[in-house]
């Protein structure tokens, strides 16, 4: 399909979408008229029913925990897919191609930057753990904290090099952590079966509100998710960095 023809199709379609969307928006009842009873039900009950203060985490890890299992396995499978695809490239090197991204020359980072980045790693890890463990109390949880923890590993690469990154972060350990995170979520859901309750029912003692142990299975599932997300992102870093180094090594 030629570019002009393609652009014509796009503009026609886009104009149609914009017009129809505008027409539909005009018929909306407006923000004040909308009442979402499900949201109101959760917001009014979560404090008394689950002893937690963050309704979002309660939805994520308890009320709609089953949906989160699905989300987590999308993450798991895409990480798995990325790793296997990149592994195929680093094994089959036909020497035909160069890195189109033009790898940056190995200019060492200045000492100030390296020092600052390395100093920042410890608070970052601490902050990530804080976000993961306080999901049931304040905004946060496994997903957000996991990403923060993974960026701590990325900073190791930015401040030092991939060699140091590989030395500090053990790949088998990260792989095990990812499996434990993904499997842990399912196992925590299965605990309910011992009480004859459906999958992912919150059966553990709910603890005292405003405390770290409140929420029953919620903090544990948040922890499993945090482990899974951290490990998943670090594995992606491993895969992409190794791929870049293989390409660079060939040149």
């Amino acid at each position: 399909m030629s570019r002009i023809w393609r652009a014509t199709v796009f503009v026609t379609g886009a104009a149609g979408i914009a017009v129809l969307f505008g027409l539909v928006c005009g018929t909306l009842p407006g923000p004040l008229a909308v009442r979402n009873r499900y949201a109101e039900a959760i917001n009014s009950r979560v404090y008394a029913q689950r002893n937690v203060t963050d309704a979002v985490s309660a939805v994520n890890f308890d009320y709609r925990g089953f949906d989160t299992v699905g989300e987590e396995f999308i993450l798991f499978v895409s990480v798995l897919g990325s790793i296997s695809l990149l592994r195929m490239t680093s094994e089959k090197t036909d020497g035909l191609l160069r890195d189109a991204a033009e790898p940056s020359r190995d200019v060492p980072a200045s000492d100030a930057i390296r020092l600052w980045i390395l100093i920042m790693i410890a608070p970052k890890v601490l902050f990530g753990i804080y976000i993961v463990t306080h999901g049931q109390l304040t905004p946060g949880g496994g997903f957000q904290g996991g990403v923060i923890l993974a960026t701590a590993a990325l900073m190791l690469y930015l401040g030092e090099s991939f060699a140091v990154f590989r030395k500090v972060v053990s790949r088998p350990a990260v792989e095990i952590a990812e499996a434990v995170g993904a499997g842990g979520f399912l196992l925590l859901g299965m605990i309910a079966w011992f009480w004859g309750k459906p999958f992912l029912t919150n059966v553990l003692p709910l603890g005292k509100t405003h405390e770290l142990t409140s929420g029953g299975t919620m903090p544990l599932i948040s922890l499993a998710t945090g482990l899974e997300v951290t490990a998943g992102f670090v594995l992606l870093l491993f895969a992409f960095l190794e791929e870049t180094l293989t390409v660079r090594g060939e040149e």
């Binding site: 914009a18 923000p31 949201a39 009014s44």
Partner: protein
């Protein structure tokens, strides 16, 4: 009134992000650019979700300092968004690794030159 403006502006921004991202995909000359255009399209879903869950003047559903019975914005939408953001990041990583494969195999990253169906 301010709530009304935010509400309708949110929908407008969502459809604009969707269309501009789609334009990026259609006119793309590089697969990495195509993946990034897809993230723009995804950003439109975040804005749309935020507007759908929006209630004028109401706070986030965190009941640490406010009374447990006070009303707040929709927590389900927020839960959807935060998982969406993290999951989509890994999906983009998957697409980028497919890009690496395609580039390895065909020595090109231009979607117009690469016959993706032939592999």
């Amino acid at each position: 009134m301010q709530g009304q403006i935010i509400f309708y502006a949110g929908f407008a921004v969502a459809v604009w992000l969707f269309l501009i991202g789609l334009y990026g995909i259609v006119s793309s000359r590089h697969l990495v650019h195509l993946c990034l255009s897809l993230t723009v399209v995804q950003a439109s879903t975040y804005v749309l979700l935020a507007v759908v869950g929006y209630r004028p003047g109401l706070p986030a559903p965190i009941f640490v300092t406010m009374p447990a019975t006070s009303s707040a914005v929709d927590p389900v939408i927020q839960a959807l968004m935060l998982t969406d953001v993290v999951v989509e990041a890994t999906v983009i990583a998957l697409l980028l690794s497919i890009t690496v494969r395609v580039h390895r195999r065909t020595a090109s990253a231009d979607p117009n030159e690469v016959d993706l169906m032939r592999g």
